[in-house]
């Protein structure tokens, strides 16, 4: 059998290895960790947005039957600081002062969660209220006060301008201004956060189980913050039911739980409930953009000004602030896939008395796309042009790659124009416009929204940290079976499938003979975890490099044992053979046996055994995926309801590892986009109370909200290993903008534009008031 005829696993629609256990309820998540004698934690959390703690009486709590320990700041005086970047850090338990509702004040360690919650109710905390800082624009002006007395509310300010932006504005014949607002959301993973910690009494080592995306970094955080040598901490990540960036942080609860286990010398577990998750998982998307655009008569956009503001909450989330992440990268990619030569941006990130802002899938992207695509539609309507034509006029042309945008970011090659054109064709754009006119005659309002996006992936530094490389340790055992360990932190992406696909091709072993390991710092090589759409391109790249190195070793064995030239050896289906002479073969199993048990036959220069670790650092600091989403909606102007009735995606994430998994990622991002555009909002009232503390109030999209999604792939390879680009965020970067634009398009007869997400029935009614008053 010739090698070329062998099916390539990479690029194939392989069913996910993870699915049988997940779909049959056999997967073991953090809350399934049960150890004899395990204690459980309930947190006393602040019910005030801003207050001095005058007095705290925990005597009744301590005396409550079944309570083993009560921790306050004095027992765990740790602050989540990143001193080089910010002037404040959050104490893991509040210290004399609370700064947001839901802030942990004390931890009750008890025989069970029931007991812990009963006891937590007995805590007497006396507050002296301070004026809550809840309005972003006022907070930037230091009103009504500073959140932290010793430092200004604006904790991140940055200005940037291209040299002749003022001139460009002055010379352009047309200008428009608009303000865009995105409301707070949170990732709301199906599995909430959780941490369990226990001390091995024999060795003194601390084992921490955590539902996290960043196993190695969390180990370092726990080690560093609690002053335990790193090798004394083992971090294990069980199955994780979703993270979406929200689980990339080190949270106060992680530290307190580890400390409690050390203090009590007993296993301790905390699992967030849904109310805690809405209160205390990092929030995202609390942004306001004041934008001005200058453009020519033919629809060519020449210049953009943007004042980017974000409400970062009470503290910078540790170890990075989502407000800085959302604004600083948005400011660098705010021109999206369009060739807009002039740009001026000002960033202000402010503190407030709200939950800290962290990462949520797409981070900056869904906000930036909402603005950039909203602007293109406004330009089109202002000029009476077709929005698709304005996009085609402005989109970066194929000959412009590598393209350096106005903010100085370099886009590697992509299929921007082709994706846009194909998406229009996929959704029968011309046919839709005709149908739209007909339906308007019947007073039915359908709209189509286009969202062309860029997605920087595989970044040297992201919310997953500043580990720009990834590692892969391959071990082939004496029977020829393979384990491959990564420093990734999958939360449902299917790495056990995709990484095995890549390795099967390289090693010539069967897919089912490879087991992918991750998430245990005792076995996984050091890595950056999962986040910032890095696992495919960087983790996959590490698999390719390690696989190739191991393949070379297997070829040397085969050549030596078959007495053939290395260049004549082919690998596949668990065997190595001489090209053209398939009966002259040796199984990988025999090679492995030789490597471990018949060491005298090991070819000269090769080590005993079949084990190696390889690391892959991409030569480019990032690679851009791209694509176009088109949403079709129908707006019921009498009730304010919006239904997403059609959806199409043309996506280019370089070389595909597994199209089925890529499509699953896209579908999930579209669903979350529907949530962002129409449903999900965390709402704080004027006193700083979070009023959306259950899934009755925080509305997630349901299966019935999802349209059928048509998907098409283009493949423009990156210059990295395997030509892979990341793709986990693009679908959520693009989808809110597509839906928002579709609603604006549907409401064009009312001359309305969506400028705030999510769009609620109340807002729709406001935008169409003219119609209803008649």
């Amino acid at each position: 059998m010739a090698q070329a005829m062998r099916p390539q696993m990479m690029g194939a629609r392989v069913s996910r290895t993870e699915d049988p256990r997940l779909l049959s309820g056999q997967a073991r998540f953090l809350d399934d960790i049960q150890v004899p004698g395990m204690l459980e934690v309930a947190f006393v959390r602040s019910t005030h947005a801003a207050a001095k703690i005058v007095q705290m009486d925990l005597r009744e709590v301590q005396q409550y039957p079944g309570v083993q320990a009560v921790l306050t700041y004095d027992d765990c005086p740790v602050q989540l600081w990143q001193r080089e970047a910010y002037e404040v850090g959050q104490p893991v338990l509040a210290h004399h002062e609370v700064s947001y509702v839901g802030q942990p004040i004390a931890a009750i360690i008890a025989d069970s969660r029931y007991v812990a919650e009963d006891a937590a109710e007995l805590a007497r905390v006396e507050y002296e209220d301070l004026p809550p800082v809840t309005d972003m624009r006022r907070a930037i002006e230091e009103n009504p006060r500073r959140v932290h007395a010793h430092t200004p509310n604006v904790f991140f300010h940055k200005e940037y301008a291209t040299p002749s932006v003022e001139q460009a504005f002055a010379q352009a014949p047309h200008h428009l201004r608009a303000t865009f607002r995105t409301n707070r959301q949170t990732a709301l993973s199906l599995e909430a956060r959780g941490t369990a910690a226990m001390v091995d009494t024999a060795t003194g080592r601390l084992t921490v189980y955590a539902s996290t995306q960043s196993p190695h970094r969390l180990r370092e955080d726990i080690s560093g913050l609690l002053g335990i040598p790193t090798h004394q901490v083992r971090l294990i990540v069980p199955e994780v039911g979703g993270g979406f960036g929200m689980k990339a942080n080190c949270y106060p609860e992680d530290i307190v739980v580890a400390k409690a286990a050390l203090m009590c010398r007993k296993p301790v577990k905390w699992v967030s409930d849904r109310t805690e998750s809405l209160l205390s998982d990092v929030h995202g998307r609390d942004d306001i953009h004041d934008v001005e655009v200058a453009f020519a008569e033919d629809g060519k956009i020449v210049a953009l000004r943007d004042h980017l503001m974000a409400d970062g909450g009470a503290y910078p989330a540790y170890p990075f602030s989502g407000a800085v992440g959302e604004t600083s990268l948005a400011s660098r990619v705010i021109t999206g896939p369009y060739d807009i030569p002039h740009l001026a941006t000002v960033i202000d990130c402010t503190y407030s008395n709200k939950m800290p802002l962290g990462a949520y899938r797409g981070v900056w992207g869904p906000v930036a796309s909402f603005i950039q695509e909203g602007i293109v539609d406004r330009v089109a309507r202002h000029l009476g042009m077709d929005p698709a034509q304005v996009r085609l006029r402005n989109i970066i042309q194929p000959h412009q790659f590598p393209y350096r945008n106005a903010a100085g970011m370099t886009y590697d090659e992509g299929s921007y124009q082709a994706c846009l054109q194909q998406a229009l064709e996929l959704m029968d754009y011309e046919g839709f416009r005709k149908r739209q006119q007909e339906l308007r005659q019947q007073e039915r309002y359908v709209g189509l929204g286009i969202s062309a996006f860029v997605e920087p992936t595989a970044m040297a530094s992201s919310e997953a940290g500043s580990v720009g490389y990834e590692s892969c340790t391959i071990q082939i055992d004496a029977t020829g079976r393979v384990t491959a360990a990564f420093g990734l932190g999958p939360t449902g992406q299917g790495h056990e499938t995709t990484m095995a696909q890549i390795l099967a091709d390289q090693l010539g072993v069967r897919f089912e003979d490879i087991i992918v390991l991750h998430g245990d710092t005792d076995s996984a090589p050091y890595g950056g975890g999962t986040g910032g759409s890095r696992s495919g391109p960087i983790g996959g790249g590490a698999a390719l490099v390690a696989g190739r190195q191991m393949r070379e070793r297997l070829v040397k064995y085969a050549a030596s044992l078959l007495e053939a030239g290395e260049e004549d050896i082919e690998l596949g289906d668990g065997k190595a053979w001489v090209a053209g002479v398939p009966e002259r073969y040796i199984s990988i199993r025999t090679i492995a046996e030789t490597a471990y048990t018949n060491v005298t036959k090991i070819p000269e220069g090769l080590p005993i055994g079949l084990e190696l670790t390889a690391r892959y650092l991409p030569k480019s600091p990032r690679t851009f995926s791209n694509g176009t989403h088109i949403a079709i909606v129908e707006v019921d102007v009498s009730t304010g309801s919006v239904a997403v009735t059609g959806y199409g995606v043309v996506n280019d994430c370089g070389r595909l590892i597994n199209p089925t998994i890529v499509e699953g990622q896209i579908l999930g991002g579209v669903a979350q986009g529907i949530g962002a555009a129409l449903l999900e909002a965390l709402h704080y009232d004027e006193s700083g109370q979070l009023v959306t503390t259950s899934l009755m109030d925080y509305l997630l999209p349901e299966s019935t909200d999802m349209p059928r999604v048509m998907m098409r792939h283009l493949e423009t390879p990156s210059d990295g290993e395997g030509g892979i680009k990341g793709m986990a965020e693009g679908s959520l970067i693009a989808s809110p903008a597509a839906i928002a634009n579709a609603v604006s398009d549907a409401l064009a007869p009312f001359d309305a534009f969506v400028d705030t997400l999510p769009v609620t029935p109340e807002m729709i009614l406001e935008m169409t008031r003219g119609e209803l008053a008649r």
Partner: protein, 270 residues
Amino acid sequence: MKPAVFDYVRVNSLDEAIEALARYEGEAKVLAGGQSLVPLMNFRLSRPGVLVDINDLAEMAGVRDLGHALAIGSMTRHQQLVNNDFIRERLPILPRVASYIGHWAIRNRGTLGGSVAHADPAAELPALLTALQATIVMRSPRGERRLLAERFFLGYYSTRLDWDEIITEIEIPFPASSPGFYEVARRAGDFALVGALAERGTSGGFVTWFGLGGRPERMALPAWTAHEEERRQLLRELAGKLDLPSEEEYKRTIAVSVAGRAMADAEGGN
């Protein structure tokens, strides 16, 4: 999110249930389907000292034909309202409205009596019962008591049900003509943002709105017209009489549209 400590009694007969409620003197709550009560307990917003579980009382579920009305046991599950052939034939509006309650799993557990006792102002069943002028039948140590739905529902989650009373049955009279129904919800299965039932009378008719204010409101429509602009004007005047909290003011417009559609639905004969 764990409930506060409570005691639990599982009863074998209605008499036992009534006795248990009397014994705990207002400390007890009846556990039927638990679809509203249990979440409230988990949030510790409801803290009954005792739960009296009536799920074994099979005799409290089912349908009887009274000739002029259907008598439906309070323990009848929502999904049984949807599936029951007899109800589908004699009172088709009931299964249709019940199918809008939550999702299948919720309908499998939730009960008619539970929904009535909970009295969510945006729930479908209290609205339908108000529209059809159903009678709520209750039992206590003092015997049986009957109240028209309109009198039974007082406001937000509040009814005339006394602490020692159990809802046993609901009598729903057959309407002269089938009412029309329309509801807007943020998502399929959610409580209504605004809903309406419309019944055509001999001259005018009635509109029962829900999801607005504290309880379903049945209001007389002075005239019934198929002319869209006139209908809209009539409904606008009617909706103007609704007493709404300021944050629900925007719903008045939706109420007009929804009631108009319910009227159109009534004309279409469903």
